[in-house]
């Protein structure tokens, strides 16, 4: 039996007091009574609380679980709760305080977030919040058979999956030598993208690289940043080569399993040149997600690109257009376009931008991505609050550059472990045992616009129309693998 993929999350406490959503406010008029509610707190918030003068933060706000007992039991009525502005001002409309807070807790504990009570959020929302994933029930239980969680695979191969296993070696000068077609396997369907906002210190990069190795995924970083310190993790690094002369990167290309390039007019020549330096290397082509992405992807795939990395902006929106569509819709478009052309399995599609939670990974894959890339969640795991003030003049409020490498590595590993665990939940609920089976399975999801049309538009849409009551057929899964043409 092959070894199972197993991560080792370990608690990695925050260096800074994480802002809690609600603060405790103590008014005047304490009666100094014997039955002080501070002593009976179920979570010992008041015994454990400390004031950190350096951070100007009260730990009570993050320890308190909002049970309201102190507020409701205090004899003097002097305790009250309120929203903590420090928490609610984190991030932006897309990267909400809840998303930041949840990822930070996952990076701290390495566990799947579990809670009691039902879901307290909105009915639905924009973007990824307008779809639900399917589950299996009675008539179609686990379609992959009976299995335990530990047998669910979240891994996939990047590269020209459906090309022949062996091909003639272009570097052999016409002699008939065959070599194995290169493939790189990752154990989770998400890779680490370039860190956003600015350049980060060596300890940050080293922490990420070590985490990438430990979790068996990949880390994209500028080729110039690949220094000697990172060489032990070279197999998990994907240097992004700048346009222009390749000579100075020859040794790097020889050491790597994958490199990333930008497309230009001479891309075919450039790909050939890189393959001559290292025939085993896999090429990732980095392109923006624009309204023209369909043509671009088709062109690149015909030119022999093996993996295309398509990037929306940080909030998952299309780029270079005044009316951007959301990445979820665009993944579906691009996937369907390639399926139609019969080329879907000749190229691996990795999408990035706006992937903020584990659920987004599953949903992006259902829409048609092979894998996704993440950036901000990596920084969030190092306590970044997305304050957006990354400049040399203003010091980072959580001093990310000063992280200890082993702590940073553990935090990122914890985040990956928590996301991996959540993917298993989703796959398990669907009765699937391989994440590769999830790709493009739009029939195993519920899209709000479809179900609205099927149910509510049918009932409330046009009151005047007499509508025969007719059940819709069960939505069939899209053909995920069209036959090769």
């Amino acid at each position: 039996m092959p070894p199972k993929y197993h991560l080792k999350p370990k608690p990695a406490p925050s260096r800074y007091v994480p802002p809690g959503p609600y603060g405790i406010i103590e008014g005047d008029g304490c009666l100094n009574c014997a039955k002080c509610v501070k002593k009976s707190c179920a979570y010992q918030v008041f015994q454990k609380r400390a004031y950190d003068a350096g951070q100007m933060a009260d730990t009570a706000d993050s320890l308190c679980k909002n049970c309201f007992r102190c507020v409701q039991e205090c004899y003097g009525r002097i305790l009250s709760k309120s929203a903590n502005p420090e928490y609610w001002s984190m991030g932006d409309e897309y990267w909400t305080p809840e998303i930041i807070g949840s990822n930070q807790r996952q990076a701290e504990a390495g566990k799947i977030p579990v809670s009691g009570g039902g879901y307290g959020g909105p009915f639905a929302g924009p973007g990824f919040d307008s779809m639900w994933t399917d589950m299996s029930e009675i008539v179609r239980p686990t379609r992959d058979g009976i299995h335990g969680r530990e047998y669910i695979s979240t891994g996939l191969e990047l590269g020209p999956v459906h090309s022949p296993a062996f091909q003639s070696d272009p570097g052999s000068g016409g002699r008939e030598t065959l070599r194995a077609c290169p493939r790189v396997e990752v154990s989770v369907p998400f890779i680490f993208d370039l860190l956003p906002f600015r350049e980060f210190s060596q300890p940050v990069l080293t922490a990420m690289a070590r985490a990438a190795k430990e979790t068996n995924t990949l880390m994209i970083l500028p080729a110039e940043s690949v220094r000697g310190e990172l060489s032990p993790w070279m197999a998990h690094l994907v240097p992004l080569l700048p346009p222009g002369d390749l000579d100075r990167f020859t040794p790097l290309i020889q050491q790597c399993r994958m490199v990333q390039i930008y497309p230009d007019e001479k891309i075919q020549e450039r790909m050939g040149e890189i393959k001559r330096i290292n025939p085993a290397v896999i090429l990732l082509v980095r392109i923006p997600l624009t309204p023209l992405a369909e043509e671009e992807v088709e062109r690149l795939s015909r030119q022999g690109a093996e993996v295309i990395h398509i990037l929306a902006d940080g909030q998952g929106r299309e780029q270079e257009t005044s009316q951007p569509r959301f990445i979820k819709e665009r993944i579906r478009d691009l996937h369907r376009a390639l399926v139609k052309q019969g080329r879907r399995d000749r190229v691996t599609l990795i999408f990035g931008g706006g992937i903020a939670l584990a659920e987004h990974v599953a949903k992006a894959i259902i829409c048609g991505a092979d894998a996704v890339s993440i950036e901000r969640p990596l920084l969030i795991s190092l306590e970044c609050r997305l304050c957006g003030r990354c400049s040399p003049e203003e010091p980072c409020p959580v001093e990310i550059d000063r992280v200890e490498t082993s702590w940073g590595r553990q935090r990122v590993v914890n985040l990956v472990a928590a996301w991996h665990g959540q993917l298993l939940e989703v796959l398990g609920a669907m009765g699937m045992r391989d994440v590769r089976r999830l790709r493009g399975e739009a029939g195993r999801a519920i899209f709000r616009e479809d179900i609205e049309k099927e149910i509510f538009a049918n009932i409330f849409g046009d009151k005047m129309q007499t509508r025969p009551v007719k059940a819709q057929p069960v939505q069939q899964g899209e053909i995920a693998c069209a036959p090769e043409t």
């Binding site: 909002n66 879901y119 589950m135 009675i138 959540q422």
Partner: protein, 510 residues
């Protein structure tokens, strides 16, 4: 004939109940007692020569300004202040916003819909029930059916299979909550309320405590994937047995009771080891097809020849097929649990993302059962986000026969939805805990009365809704989508407030 248990006041068990507004009395107060004489709602009370702390929960806020008894203006010393309660900032739940919690608490205290303008019908989730409105035709009040003429009874067995024709007095019953996830007190309180209103409540999957013996006639026992505490004896005790295939809050995942909550009592009941986390697997490892499912149902029917069988499923894309399959396997009740349902512990990713909300599933299944020609042979029950009497009416108008409630019962016991049911010793408010020390915080009599009161308020509202729709029975409302408006499709806001039509006093007003 509908059983009508006595409504008795059951005030908050906390010293400082949470109100929408906060009234403050400062040092200038001379304890003259004028405010206590003025306020008809009992916000101000004097004990002996001293004023007590204001009862915030009865204050109607700025809308009181028009009254000549407005205490803030009348206080001779100017010692009173009133403002929106800042504590409400910490109750940010879209499905259970502060207004809905407060209005549930008031109903549980008084058995009446709340005073003033607290929202008691919908939450703020921005979709589903919260975007649906009831549409009442313009009718002369004289032509409305009389209250006594309106029936809220619901028949649970429509199969004509010689099993008992079990009927409940109200179109709702209590959802499964296991011993372990909630306390013994909570279970008994729910059972008493169910008995008082001639309906049911469910043991959940965690054994059938002996303390529930007196309520056997109004209990449903659950057979779920872990089979915790299930024996032939427990199945033979009840009139309804429920198969839990899945739960809306965690569809496709098993149940999970964290180790801390496995106390000696819980471990004994579940035949497990103290302190060890307990998992119910998913799915039933003996059911991988509808044929297997039928065997399952037959097994229960064999063990208890008098019971009805309910099948609880969640809401995948093919929920309609699941429902039909369950019917052909012999189920009397198809219970759909929507994706936003409650739980003692579930992964956040599952609560938010897996399976569809109940508002879509009800019409989908209803329509399919009609098409199959079996709609009148099976009872369709909906749950997973039913918070108010209005949610019930909407669910039934969308096509359900009745509903199941869970979280609303907990809120009546003053659950504040902090969502820490799963951790440590469980609920610090003594509802979802089996910790012996915590459990003491709640009195059983009080708890039962709170739920009885809440149900009483719901029944009053349901009767009024039916009257305003010109209907004489809750069964006439099933599938009547013409009684509903969806604001996404018909953007004019309509007011379906029924308070003006409700009889009886509310709150402390004279």
């Amino acid at each position: 004939m509908l059983r009508r248990p006595e409504i008795k006041r059951a005030p908050s068990r906390y010293r400082n109940p949470v109100g929408k507004f906060k009234v403050q009395r400062d040092k200038r107060c001379t304890h003259c007692g004028l405010c206590a004489e003025l306020c008809p709602r009992g916000v101000h009370q004097r004990m002996g020569k001293r004023m007590l702390s204001p009862r915030d929960e009865w204050c109607i806020g700025p809308s009181c300004q028009k009254n000549e008894y407005y205490c803030i203006r009348r206080c001779p010393q100017g010692a009173l202040r009133m403002a929106v309660n800042p504590n409400l900032q910490a109750l940010r739940d879209h499905r259970w916003p502060a207004d809905l919690l407060l209005s549930n608490w008031q109903q549980a205290e008084t058995g009446c819909v709340p005073y003033s303008d607290l929202e008691y019908r919908i939450g703020r989730s921005g979709g589903g029930f919260d975007r649906l409105r009831l549409r009442f035709p313009q009718t002369d009040p004289g032509e409305l059916p009389a209250e006594e003429e309106v029936s809220t009874a619901l028949l649970l067995n429509r199969r004509e299979d010689r099993r008992p024709r079990v009927q409940i007095g109200v179109p709702f019953y209590g959802g499964g909550m296991s011993f372990g996830s909630v306390s013994n007190h909570t279970m008994i309180a729910r059972a008493r309320a169910a008995m008082a209103w001639d309906t049911f409540t469910c043991t959940g999957e965690g054994g059938y405590p002996e303390s529930l013996k007196p309520y056997d006639s109004h209990m449903i026992t659950q057979v779920a994937t872990g089979l915790f505490g299930v024996s032939e004896e427990t199945i033979q005790r009840v009139r309804i047995v429920e198969f839990k295939y899945a739960q809306g809050a965690k569809p496709g995942l098993g149940g999970h009771l964290l180790g801390d909550k496995v106390t000696p009592a819980v471990a004994r009941m579940r035949e497990a080891v103290v302190g060890n986390a307990l998992f119910s697997p998913f799915p039933f490892h003996s059911v991988y097809s509808v044929e297997d499912h039928k065997k399952h149902v037959d097994w229960i029917k064999e063990v208890n020849p008098r019971c009805l069988v309910s099948v609880k499923v969640s809401t995948p894309t093919d929920v309609d097929m699941v429902a039909v399959g369950s019917y052909y396997a012999g189920a009397h009740i198809i219970h759909l649990d929507g994706s936003y349902g409650g739980t003692g512990a579930a992964p956040d990713i599952a609560k938010k993302n897996i399976a569809m909300p109940i508002e879509y599933a009800i019409p989908k299944v209803h329509r399919f059962l009609v098409e199959e020609g079996i709609r009148d042979k099976v009872t369709l029950i909906a749950s997973g986000g039913i918070r108010t009497a209005f949610d019930m009416a909407k669910a039934i108008a969308l096509g359900a026969d009745g509903v199941v409630v869970g979280t609303a019962d907990m809120v009546a016991l003053e659950c504040i939805r902090c969502r820490n049911c799963e951790s440590g010793r469980g609920c610090p408010r003594a509802i979802a805990t089996t910790d012996p020390e915590y459990s003491k915080q709640m009195d059983m009599e009080w708890a039962a009365q709170r739920i009885i009161n809440l149900y009483g308020s719901w029944v009053k509202q349901l009767v009024t809704i039916l009257r305003l729709l010109g209907l004489r029975s809750i069964t006439e409302l099933v599938g009547r989508t013409d009684c509903l408006i969806h604001l996404d499709y018909q953007p004019e806001e309509i007011d379906d407030d029924i308070k003006p039509y409700l009889t009886g006093s509310n709150g402390k007003s004279a």
